[in-house]
C-alpha cells in the first residue's frame, strides 16, 4: 500500500533517504514500547512464581516453651523448615562471650545485641551454618562444641562461640538470630 510516507520528497534521490526514515521511527517506537512493556509484564510472573508460595510463607511462626530447658541445655526445633537452636546459656558461658573483645570478631556483635534485654542467657539462633548451610553440632549434650564452646560445623570446620558468633573457619557471619519476642517469661514466639 503506497502511503504518503513512501513518497520521496522532490529533490531527494532514493539513496539520500536515510533508513529508517523519521516517520518509520515513530512506527517502530509505537510498536516496540508496548511490546517491551508487555514482555516484561509477562516475564515477571514467570520469574516470581519461583519465590516462596503463600503456603510456605504461612508456616512462618513457631512458639517455643522454655520452661523445661535448664541452664547449659539446648533444644533444636524448626522455624520456616529450618533448624532453630534454643540454648539456655550458663553464667560461665555468658561471661565467656562477654569477655571477648569485639576487635577479635569477624562479624562483631555483642551477646547483648544478640539476645533480648533481661534474657541474656537465652541464645536463639538458626541452626544453619552461614558457610553453606549445614547444621552445626553443639546444641545437644555430648556434641563436639569446637574450640570456643559454642557450635562446631562438621562440614567445613567453622567454629562458633557461646554467643553463636563465628570465630574460626570459612563461615562469613554469625549464626543468624531470627526475629522473636517473649510472650511470657517462659515462652517465645519466633517469626
Amino acid at each position: 500500500m503506497a502511503t504518503v510516507d513512501d513518497v520521496i520528497p522532490e529533490g531527494e534521490s532514493p539513496d539520500s533517504v536515510s533508513d529508517p526514515r523519521r516517520r518509520d521511527f515513530l512506527n517502530i517506537a509505537a510498536v516496540a514500547f508496548p511490546a517491551t512493556a508487555g514482555a516484561v509484564a509477562v516475564l515477571f510472573p514467570l520469574i516470581n512464581q519461583m519465590s516462596p508460595s503463600a503456603d510456605v510463607l504461612a508456616e512462618s511462626t513457631t512458639t517455643v516453651d522454655l520452661s523445661k530447658i535448664q541452664p547449659g541445655q539446648g533444644v533444636i526445633t524448626t522455624f520456616r523448615k529450618q533448624p532453630l537452636f534454643v540454648r539456655n546459656l550458663t553464667p560461665k558461658e555468658v561471661a565467656e562471650a562477654n569477655a571477648v573483645p569485639l576487635s577479635e570478631l569477624r562479624d562483631p556483635e555483642t551477646l547483648e545485641k544478640r539476645t533480648q534485654p533481661g534474657h541474656e542467657n537465652w541464645l536463639i539462633t538458626l541452626g544453619v551454618c552461614t558457610h553453606l548451610g549445614c547444621i552445626p553440632l553443639g546444641i545437644n549434650e555430648g556434641d563436639n562444641r569446637g574450640k570456643f564452646g559454642g557450635y562446631f560445623c562438621p562440614c567445613h570446620g567453622s567454629q562458633y562461640d557461646t554467643a553463636g558468633r563465628i570465630r574460626q573457619g570459612p563461615a562469613p557471619k554469625n549464626l543468624a538470630v531470627p526475629p522473636y519476642k517473649f510472650t511470657s517469661p517462659t515462652a517465645i514466639l519466633v517469626g
Binding site: 519461583m50 519465590s51 516462596p52 508460595s53 510456605v56 533444636i76 524448626t78 520456616r80 523448615k81 529450618q82 533448624p83 569477624r106 544453619v128 558457610h131 553453606l132 548451610g133 549445614c134 547444621i135 562438621p154 562440614c155 567445613h156 570446620g157 573457619g169 570459612p170 563461615a171 562469613p172
Partner: protein, 429 residues
C-alpha cells in the same frame, strides 16, 4: 562445509528421491555422519569419545523418561518412590534406576576424556574455537543437570547437597540470600525445590541435545581435527566417515557398553554414596557431605579458601570454583601457540600431564574429609590449576621450540608417526 572430494548423496530409490526433494533428512545425515563427511585418516581411539558422549546422553534420556513414569517429585514420597517402588516393585525398575545413576558416571567419564583429548591435541584452537566454547556450555549444562538429578532421590546426600550448592548463591554480597530463597522457593530445600529441580532435570538434557547439534555443526565447518594437528591438504589425507569411523566408533561403543554393564550388574553402588540410602532429614547433617565423584575437583577448589582476603572466604571459594570452568572459555586465546598437537610440543606436553595429575589430586582431596592436610594439598593444587591456564600455558606458547611437524597427515601416517600407534598404522596398510 565439506571438502571438494566428498562423496555426493545420490538417492537411487524413487521414494528416497521423492523424500530428498521434500525433506532432505537422509542427505543431512549422509553429509554429517555418513559417507559424505571426509575425516582425517589418522584418528586414534580418543576420537571415539564424542560419539560415546552422544550415546551416553541418549541412554540417560531414554532411561530418564521411563523412570519419570514412576517417580514422585514430592518431598514426602520421593525417597520411597525410588527406593521402594522403582527399586523393588516396578518391572526391571532396579535395572533402569541403576542404568540411569551409573549412566551419569559413564557420561562424565566419557566427557572428561573428551575434554582432556581436546586439551592434549589443541582441539580448542583456531579454526575450532566455537566447537570448544559450545563444548564448555554443554559441560556446564551437564553439571547443572547432574546436580539436580542427584537431588531427586531425596536421600541425605541429595538434601544436603541441595542445601550446600544453593548455599553458593548466598555468597553473593547483599542479594545472595534473597536469590537463594528464590531458587529454593522456601527457606530450606523442600517440596518447591524438589519439584522445580525435577522439572529442570527433565528439560535440560534436551537443551544439551540442542547445543550438541550446534557443537557438531560448528565442527563440520572446518572438519574434524586429528592427532598431528596438521590441516587436511588433499583427498589422500581423508577417508569417508562411513564406513571407516562408524566402524571404529562402533567398536569403541561396544567396549563402553561392556564397562557400563559391568558397573550396573556387578558394582551398581560403587560410585554412589551410602548416605543417600537414608531418607532426607532436615534436622541432621551427615558427618561428611560430599558431592558425586565427578564434582570432587571443583569441590576441592571451593573448600580451598579458608580465610578472608578483601572478600569473604566463602565468596572466594565460590568464585574460584565457577572461575575454574569459566576459564576454559578463554583457553583458545590463552594458548597462543599455532601448533595444535602436544605431540610436537615437548614443554606443553609435560604441562598437560602435570595438569592431569593436579586434577586427579584435587579430585582425591575433594572426596576426602576437610582435614587440614587435605585442605593444604587442595590449596596448592587449586593454585596450580589456575597457574597452568593463566601463566604456564601462555608462557610456554611464547617460549617453546616445537618439534618439526610432518608436511601432511599422509606423510605422518606413512612414516608411522601419525599420533596413532605404529602397530595400528601397520594394520591400516
Amino acid at each position: 562445509m565439506s571438502f571438494p572430494w566428498a562423496n555426493h548423496y545420490e538417492p537411487k530409490q524413487p521414494f528416497m528421491r521423492w523424500l530428498d526433494e521434500k525433506l532432505p533428512l537422509p542427505r543431512l545425515a549422509y553429509n554429517a555422519v555418513g559417507a559424505g563427511y571426509p575425516v582425517p585418516r589418522n584418528l586414534n581411539y580418543f576420537w571415539n569419545f564424542g560419539v560415546l558422549a552422544g550415546a551416553a546422553l541418549a541412554i540417560q534420556i531414554v532411561t530418564g523418561i521411563v523412570l519419570a513414569m514412576h517417580y514422585h517429585s514430592d518431598a514426602a514420597s520421593a525417597f520411597s518412590s525410588i527406593n521402594g517402588t522403582i527399586m523393588r516393585d516396578v518391572n526391571a525398575g532396579w535395572f533402569l534406576r541403576y542404568a540411569h545413576a551409573n549412566g551419569a558416571s559413564m557420561f562424565f567419564i566419557v566427557v572428561y576424556t573428551h575434554i582432556f583429548r581436546g586439551l592434549y591435541y589443541g582441539s580448542y584452537k583456531a579454526p575450532r574455537e566455537m566447537v570448544w566454547l559450545l563444548g564448555v556450555v554443554i559441560f556446564l549444562l551437564m553439571m547443572a543437570t547432574a546436580f539436580m538429578g542427584y537431588v531427586l532421590p531425596w536421600g541425605q546426600m541429595s538434601f544436603w547437597g541441595a542445601q550446600v550448592i544453593t548455599g553458593f548463591f548466598s555468597a553473593i554480597p547483599g542479594i545472595g540470600e534473597t536469590i537463594r530463597v528464590w531458587l529454593l522457593g522456601g527457606y530450606a530445600p523442600d517440596d518447591a525445590a524438589l519439584n522445580r529441580f525435577f522439572s529442570l532435570h527433565y528439560l535440560l538434557p534436551f537443551v544439551i541435545a540442542a547445543v550438541i547439534i550446534l557443537h557438531i555443526w560448528a565442527l563440520h565447518i572446518p572438519g574434524s581435527g586429528n592427532p598431528t594437528g596438521v590441516d587436511v591438504k588433499g583427498e589422500q589425507d581423508t577417508v569417508p566417515f562411513h564406513p571407516y569411523y562408524t566402524a571404529k566408533d562402533g567398536f569403541g561403543l561396544g567396549i563402553f557398553l561392556l564397562l557400563f554393564a559391568a558397573l550396573i550388574f556387578f558394582f551398581p553402588d560403587m560410585l554412589g554414596h551410602p548416605d543417600n540410602y537414608i531418607a532426607a532429614n532436615p534436622l541432621q547433617t551427615p558427618a561428611h557431605i560430599v558431592p558425586e565423584w565427578y564434582f570432587w575437583p571443583f569441590y576441592a577448589i571451593l573448600r580451598s579458601f579458608t580465610s578472608d582476603f578483601i572478600l569473604p572466604a566463602k565468596l572466594w571459594g565460590v568464585l574460584a570454583m565457577f572461575g575454574s570452568i569459566l576459564l576454559l572459555f578463554f583457553l583458545p586465546w590463552l594458548d597462543s601457540s599455532p601448533i595444535r598437537s602436544n605431540n610436537y610440543r615437548p614443554k606443553a606436553r609435560i604441562a598437560f600431564w602435570v595438569l592431569v595429575l593436579d586434577v586427579l589430586i584435587l579430585g582425591y582431596c575433594g572426596g576426602s574429609p576437610a582435614d587440614p592436610l587435605y585442605v593444604i594439598v587442595a590449596q596448592v593444587c587449586s593454585a596450580y590449576y589456575f597457574l597452568h591456564f593463566l601463566v604456564i600455558l601462555p608462557w610456554i606458547a611464547r617460549t617453546e621450540r616445537p618439534v618439526a611437524l610432518p608436511n601432511s597427515i599422509t606423510e605422518a601416517v606413512l612414516a608411522g608417526k601419525s599420533g596413532t600407534s605404529p602397530a595400528e598404522t601397520a594394520l591400516a596398510h
